[in-house]
Symmetry: C2
Subunit: 153 residues, 2 copies
């Protein structure tokens, strides 16, 4: 059994702190300024960038990193605030489409500047372009390993 060196452990604990506090911080700001969680924001954002502001629940779940069951509840909440609407896919009733309403688009438009500016001030503008690129690539590497290990259960 190979243990971690003190240095490796330090780096790992730094990553753990990041995983704990960065989502927390983003959620705080979104919640305070727009009454949205990060997943809610991603749902609105992904819908706004899609043809007809429409996406299938299952695709939406994938791009927002949410389970289908979580997404279903999130969309239910957004629907009750009239930010999103649900419709069965006309061509195949098994699919459900989530559709961004005009009110949802407005809400996103109001939330986006504050959100982006926080992401800038906490992450993007704190690192050099090269550091940010590397950080993204490292994250991709790790996520790829997770995917790989999930496949072989």
């Amino acid at each position: 059994m190979r243990w971690l060196t003190a240095e490796q452990l330090d780096s790992w604990l730094s990553v753990v702190r990041l995983m704990t506090w960065l989502p927390w911080s983003i959620d705080q700001q979104l919640q305070r300024d727009s009454k949205l969680g990060m997943v809610e924001y991603q749902v609105l954002a992904m819908l706004s960038g899609s043809p007809n502001r429409t996406m299938r629940m299952s695709s939406l779940a994938e791009v927002t990193n949410a389970s289908l069951s979580r997404l279903s509840r999130v969309v239910t909440r957004l629907e009750s605030r009239r930010l999103v609407r649900r419709e069965p896919d006309p061509t195949d009733g098994r699919f459900t489409n989530a559709i961004l309403t005009e009110a949802g688009f407005q809400t996103l438009a109001e939330a986006a500047p504050g959100h982006v500016s926080l992401v800038r001030s906490l992450v993007v503008d704190v690192l050099s372009p090269e550091q940010l690129r590397r950080l993204g690539r490292d994250a991709d590497r790790i996520v790829a390993r997770i995917d790989a290990s999930a496949i072989n259960e």
Copy 2:
């Protein structure tokens, strides 16, 4: 309002994926193999490395990145499994000490190899020593910014 370039957005979304899936993956393994969540594990680990396997609730909350209220519930659960014990600090009854029991130490000893080996296979062994160091430093930078922005509310 400065928007994000496509490249910056990509990197950011990679980081978001990391923050979503890495904790999930760690929790899965710990839960499956040892019926522990990541915070539970950290609690046991931090206690085991402390003098007398004892720590104040408030210090423990800090090192495990948990709110005091969350830690209180976590320790209640661990206590009901006899992995941890609570005692008021003899020298000042306002403090409560959490103490790792022998059973708790055993549980940690059984959980640690699998946990460490997952951390290795997902993170530590996927990056070069230099990449890991940089990742840790980038994480520190970001967390420092979060702390700074939390201070000025």
